[in-house]
Symmetry: C2
């Protein structure tokens, strides 16, 4: 294992590699190369080799990478060789879409609790889960050792909701509200925003 | 303007800078620095200076950046100083959430057409827009010179939908389906996937 911190930008590419490796595995492909991965992902082979070298030796000169082995190694590095419980807060259209999203399970995550402030929504069910009021957040997060939350509330409420999350022990927030949230020491926030993706493309148009 | 291509990773950070500058502008802040921006974004000041230097000289040694000026320059570089029309395809929970999302307008984008294959949805309205069948795609995309599409269909349909889009002249796709799509020469696909964001955080837990 490495002793000096890995650049976050490198960490950020590992899920992309993992995703590509999972597709390859699903297609029954057993061996791949930095060139092949790079071509699929639009990343240079040299970059992929360099990124992976931070974590160890995963391939052999001339024979490339064993897809399943590399996939397992990256799952282990990213700690998604286990299942993380997620609290989803804000059950509007987007929250509902996330609650129905089929891509979490098998990739290390499971939404285990739904929260909203709207009394009309509290008590409703989505699949096996019942939407709870925010007064239940502390009890549920602590009781189920939840460390990850997704926030899909309006921008005006996102700050307060994030603070509530951090105060009850959430360590990572994926924020869908169109506002930048600050994480306290030892915690993390990732922002996701369709517009930043779109803007990256219009540059090339 | 630069003569050699800018690394895509640099282009990808410009929307993040733009977002931060827009928040600063909304807060009434008139001047900022690489240090200040870097602190807000978790990116080093040196990186920000280096990224911006690809596009020109935007700040003065010792006085920093004029927020509105730098914001306008990045809007121009990313070509979001105009409004791009978007076709949104797949009006499930996620499509509906995107259709309602308030963060597009003023950031260079407007959803102008909604498409779905489900006969029960075709003809329904979301706000001012009526959901259309895919048989209308070519006519609408060409008639309104739409170059950007967002795909929020199930994974099994995403490939076919993307090919339809490219065949009628769409140049950029933001793909929400949990599957990697290939873009033909001269076109672009960006993938967005909550799991890759989550996986980047669990590394640190």
């Amino acid at each position: 294992m490495p002793t000096k911190p890995i650049p976050d930008i490198v960490v950020g590419r590992l899920p992309v590699y993992l995703r590509a490796l999972s597709f390859l595995a699903a297609e029954g492909v057993q061996t791949t190369s930095s060139q092949d991965l790079g071509k699929r992902l639009g990343i240079s082979a040299a970059q992929i080799r360099k990124d992976l070298s931070h974590f160890g030796e995963f391939g052999k000169q001339g024979t490339g990478y064993n897809v399943n082995f590399l996939r397992e190694q990256i799952r282990r590095i990213l700690k998604v060789d286990r299942e993380w419980s997620i609290a989803l807060i804000g059950i509007g259209d987007l929250g509902r879409a996330l609650a129905h999203y089929g891509g979490f399970v098998d990739r290390g995550f499971r939404i285990v609790a739904l929260f909203d402030v709207d009394p009309a929504k509290i008590g409703q069910r989505i699949g096996e889960l019942e939407i709870m009021g925010m007064d239940k957040l502390a009890e549920v997060v602590r009781g189920r050792s939840i460390q990850v939350a997704m926030i899909a509330v309006p921008a005006a409420q996102a700050h307060q909701v994030a603070e509530q999350c951090f105060s009850v022990g959430i360590k990572s927030i994926l924020n869908y509200a169109p506002i930048t949230l600050q994480a306290p020491e030892g915690a993390l926030v990732q922002h996701t925003d369709p517009v930043t993706h779109l803007q990256r493309m219009t540059y090339y148009l």
